[in-house]
């Protein structure tokens, strides 16, 4: 499963019970729309850290790079690549 799909599945099951998967698109704004509040964002960050073995700082999760599944996927991939290089 792609990173985007993994994220989508997590968000649907944890924060959008009863929602149809096709409504949560890669470019659906998550935080600016109120789908994910600050508590849900924390849960998502923890999930990503555990699932992909990366470390995420609070300042990296501002709405500009952490609002849509597509953005989050790109963020995760960058982190994984950086960690492999290190």
């Amino acid at each position: 499963m792609s990173v985007a799909d993994t994220i989508r599945q997590f968000i649907l099951s944890r924060y959008l019970p009863g929602e149809s998967p096709e409504n949560l698109q890669d470019d659906t704004p998550l935080r600016s729309s109120g789908i994910l509040d600050s508590l849900a964002t924390l849960g998502l960050i923890t999930f990503l850290e555990e699932e992909y073995r990366i470390t995420i700082e609070a300042h990296e999760t501002d709405v500009d790079n952490f609002d849509r599944i597509a953005d989050i996927e790109a963020f995760v991939e960058r982190k994984r690549a950086a960690q492999q290089e290190a």
Binding site: L16, P17, G18, N23, S33, G34, D37, E57
Partner: protein, 529 residues
Amino acid sequence: MDTTQAVSLVDYMEASARRVPGRTAIVDPAGWSLTYRELDDRADRIAGFLVRSGVQPGDRVGVAVPKGAAAITAFLGIMKARAAYVPADYTAPAARNASILSDCQVKAAFLSDGGAAILNAWPGGVPRPSAVVSVEGGPQANPFQGAVPWNEALQSPPARVEGRSRGDLAYILYTSGSTGVPKGVMLTHENAIGFVDWCSEVFNPSEEDRFSSHAPFHFDLSVLDIYVALKHGATLYVVSEELGKAPKELAGFIATSKLTVWYSTPSILGLLAQFGNLPTRDCSSLRLVLFAGEVFPVKHLRSITGIWPWAAFYNLYGPTETNVCTYAAIPLPVPADRRAPYPIGWPCSHCEALVLDTDGAETLAGAEGLLHIAGPSVFPGYWNRPEQNAAAFLERGGRRWYSTGDVVRLDPRDGYLYVGRRDRMVKRRGYRIELGEIEKGLYQHAALQEVGVVGVSDDAGVRIIAYLSAPGARRPSIIELKTFCAQNLPSYMSPDVFHFLEALPRTSTDKIDYQSLTRLATARAEEAV
């Protein structure tokens, strides 16, 4: 200072400014700080600005700005002008803030990001504030049209208004209203001083203390943070809204600031325990950890007390209408097999408690009943809500009692135990939420016909479940509903789960059958586990 002399909350800060003018009073989230002398001087100038702008004793002044030294300076300046401050959550929807500030007809307002939107949302027929100060918000903030920049207001010649009285209103805190409209809890200087003096007695603060200011300023936990710190010449470390929700960074902040006193809702302590990576931080400076606002799930309390075993933990209980009125020290360690939440404890020395059954008779010791509180910290009433005021108070034995609406029972060893409520109010993340206010918000959605919202408690806290029907219309998706809620309600009021039913269950008198919905929600929750 001799506490019997204090007439206003500001007297405490001014006394500290005379006694320890060079000590750091406030550390702003941006890192800069104010000494007591600087704080006192700036507050005098804000008072001067307000007086010149026509603010009179007894007027209300709104403050909807980010947490920081400027906000606190504004509060003190407002009180030096003998007016009352009305703090509002600047991140909440503009219409809600406009409703709050216009409800008590603020004469002036300190606004920030979103300030222009608040003024645009002002209801017709109510005069807008005649003076508006724009306080720096985020990097995109611009002073909006007609607003005086904060730095300019700070240049005003100083002023202090004579005639301070304990009966003067100090601030108005708005809380959720069951009819959908927030109501303003008026608090006088007498109310606040009664509470602050009790804190001095029990917690023994000194100028060596370093207090957290985690709670938002529209939340009454901030009264302890700000005024107990300033009374004792201690230093107040203001936690920004963003930092307050970032557990790892917040844990770091506690450690590097060497905080000695922490006060917050249990939810935040739970987040720190779960996500804060606390074992990697040296928080040994903490001597006191206070929590209030909601029941602390025992497993999370066990966790945080295990991580910080050197601190003294206290459960503080009290509605906004009285501030803290009972309290319980938590004996450590929390036993591994304990399931029951801790008591709310014994009345504070400045409060009296009375437990009555629904007929108004005093309950037999140990029986459940409704808790009533009397004493100098009991508020005078809600702003302009005569019906709610009539319902809130009881005269008995020559005293005026406030009906908290909380059901308790008295244990001879542990004091009062919180049982629950009989109405439709719940606590979530420490916030008071009238489920009716959430319903009113959702009813504004054109597609929804019926809305029934219930709260279900479990080990982790309260979950809010909304039951909806939309016959003959396209059912909005969950995402659409969440987005709608974000636009119309504060974030902590957004339901966790939305379920559509063909029609909501009704009672024999055709009202929504909430008991039925609660059973449904509880059964579903049990199924999921």
